[in-house]
């Protein structure tokens, strides 16, 4: 029954009838698994206690990204990319890679998808360059460049909690996989879009110069330092994110560049509730035999081969049902394998979704059925690009992880 409920919750989240928030189905489903005893009360409480700090951390990062956008950080990034490329689409791709990788790592993939993508399109088209390679780079890097820090992706925050390692250790182990994934993407993009990039950029409009918001950059820098120093002190790094969001939030409220309502809205409460409820439902599914059923399919141990196998399973599952439920299902199963196993799952669920541009086959099928506007996108081209980047990135990123584990230890 829990499986049926999980499928219903995911189907609702994909379909979103009448535009209702995803939590509308997830919360009742969580209550049903609780009421029917599919999950014991202590287990449910433990799951919520485990997820609540993760969700609060995520909320702080979402607010931080919104405040950075309000202060013009993304327009400044557009102006920087235009300056760096001096009219060459190839150099523009390089600066898009740099900016998108940095923004995804620090402000999460949501910031890259929602806030950076339109700025990149505007920058490319004002320069007169073909926008496709640059916009596709944003959508790909939102996934593959979200490996570096626990804050870069909700999946990372979940794995970070499950692995129980420090913020700096996480970043240290994931630095090589992150660089490997970005390098593969860059090499493939340069070849795949060679003719678009060679077409030049002609007679665009000047990109208006925007000064970088120094105060925001300083606060972001201090927040990053905060992430690094809180862990060894035994303080939850989420406090650093709260601190950063608080400083920028109070400043914006005092200067009346935002309202309490807008700030509250940027935390996406329904999304946070959805994550909590989804966590409870998934836990019920895992408790009720999924771990036995799937357990033997999951490679164990921390040999290179086992890590590759884990990443592959995670990538496949993420492509079937979206990476958020995939990571919730796989983490309890992989946790016994130690840090290496958890991070290998993370590499799979983060890089995998680039195969299907809507995150999973389930979403893709539904959007095809609906004939939603984005299905007119060139599916064949996007999938070819994914097939060129995903398998190689997965292998090289896992190799990077394995090297990190060997050098600095799990």
């Amino acid at each position: 029954m829990s499986v049926v409920l999980l499928v219903a919750v995911l189907a609702f989240a994909v379909v979103r009838p009448r535009g209702w928030p995803e939590a509308v189905a997830a919360v009742p489903a969580a209550l049903v698994v609780l009421a029917t005893g599919a999950i014991s009360v202590p287990h449910a409480v433990a799951e919520v206690e485990r997820l609540a700090p993760v969700v609060a951390f995520l909320a702080a990062v979402l607010v931080l990204a919104r405040l950075c956008a309000d202060e013009g950080l993304f327009e400044a990034a557009g102006s920087l990319m235009a300056r760096l490329c001096s009219g060459s689409p190839k150099r523009l791709l390089g600066s898009v890679f740099g900016v998108a990788a940095a923004i995804t790592a620090v402000l999460s993939l949501d910031a890259t998808v929602v806030l950076l993508t339109p700025v990149v399109f505007a920058t490319a088209s004002r320069l007169g360059a073909r926008p496709k390679p640059h916009v596709y780079a944003c959508t790909h890097l939102a996934n593959s460049a979200s490996l570096l820090l626990p804050v870069s992706n909700l999946t990372n925050l979940l794995a970070f909690t499950a692995a129980g390692i420090s913020f700096t250790r996480f970043a240290g182990l994931m630095a090589l996989p992150w660089l490997a994934a970005i390098a593969v993407e860059y090499a493939v993009f340069r070849l795949f879009f060679a003719s678009d990039l060679a077409a030049g950029a002609d007679a665009g409009l000047p990109v208006p110069p925007r000064k970088a918001p120094t105060f925001v950059l300083v606060v972001l820098g201090l927040t990053l330092v905060g992430f690094a120093v809180t862990s060894p002190l035994g303080v939850d790094p989420a406090w650093a994110a709260f601190g950063g969001a608080l400083v920028l939030g109070v400043r914006a409220l005092v200067r009346r560049t935002t309202t309490p309502r807008a700030l509250f809205g940027s935390t996406s409460v329904p999304f946070l509730v959805f994550v909590l409820a989804l966590g409870v439902v998934v836990r019920a599914v895992v408790d009720n035999g999924l771990s036995d059923a799937v357990g033997h399919l999951i490679p164990t141990g921390s040999t290179l081969l086992a890590l590759l196998g884990l990443a592959a399973v995670a990538a496949v599952l993420a492509n079937l049902i979206n990476n958020l439920p995939a990571v919730l299902v796989l983490l309890p199963l992989a946790a016994s394998g130690g840090t290496g196993a958890v991070l290998a799952v993370l590499i799979g669920v983060n890089i995998g979704p680039n195969l299907t541009y809507v995150g999973s086959l389930a979403t893709l099928l539904w959007r095809r059925i609906l004939h939603q506007h984005d299905t007119s996108a060139d599916l064949g081209e996007f999938t070819r690009l994914g097939l060129l980047t995903v398998p190689v990135s997965l292998v090289l990123a896992v190799l990077g992880l394995w090297a990190g584990l060997t050098v600095i230890g799990g």
């Binding site: 995911l10 989240a13 994909v14 979103r16 535009g19 995803e22 689409p89 993939l109 949501d110 998808v113 929602v114 993508t117 339109p118 399109f121 088209s125 004002r126 007169g128 360059a129 073909r130 926008p131 496709k132 916009v135 596709y136 944003c138 959508t139 939102a142 996934n143 060679a194 003719s195 678009d196 060679a198 077409a199 030049g200 950029a201 002609d202 007679a203 409009l205 996406s268 999304f271 959805f274 994550v275 989804l278 979206n322 990476n323 958020l324 439920p325 979704p353 541009y357 809507v358 995150g359 999973s360 979403t363 939603q372 506007h373 984005d374 007119s376 996108a377 060139d378 081209e381 996007f382």
Partner: protein, 160 residues
């Protein structure tokens, strides 16, 4: 007769110049730009991949669609200024190669630019879309180099 000039980012200027040189004085010139749905589609898709985020109004694809419309109108305006002859500007939506073929139906001439590897003469100097248009065009095609064509020395020697 109608002369259709395909205006594409990066290579449009050569096509505008070719139209000035080769369009007969009495012809009606159509500046054609095609806005493909794939780029906004990728932005829509990336947002759909963020499961649970709700807020369809935050979908960056909508913003990209609007920006694409503005960019197309701007490019057509710049091309019209460069052409400096009476012309009609048309922006179509769809797969570029198919829209260009449809727009060229009944035209007396279609002017397009090479958009592949432009460092040497050869088949790779045509990108995918341009290749399709050359292969399927329902009218005479004028295929121009966006800049000075490479010398014939760039053709590799025949295999022995």
């Amino acid at each position: 007769m109608d002369v259709v000039v395909w205006i594409v980012e990066g290579t449009w200027r050569a096509c505008a110049h070719a139209a000035r040189t080769f369009a007969p004085p009495s012809s009606r010139i159509v500046l054609l730009h095609v806005t493909a749905p794939d780029v906004p589609g990728a932005a829509h898709g990336a947002f759909a991949g963020l499961l649970g985020r709700g807020h369809p109004e935050r979908d960056p694809g909508h913003q990209v669609e609007e920006l694409a419309e503005v960019a197309a109108q701007h490019l057509l305006a710049v091309a019209a200024a460069e052409l400096d002859l009476p012309a009609t500007a048309v922006n179509r939506h769809g797969r570029p190669e198919e829209e260009v073929i449809a727009a060229a139906e009944g035209a007396g001439l279609l002017i397009i630019a090479r958009d592949g590897d432009r460092t040497r003469l050869g088949p790779k100097s045509l990108g995918h879309a341009t290749r399709f248009v050359v292969d399927h065009a329902p009218c005479p095609v004028l295929l121009v180099w966006p800049e000075q064509a490479p010398g014939i020395a760039s053709i590799p020697p025949p295999p022995r």
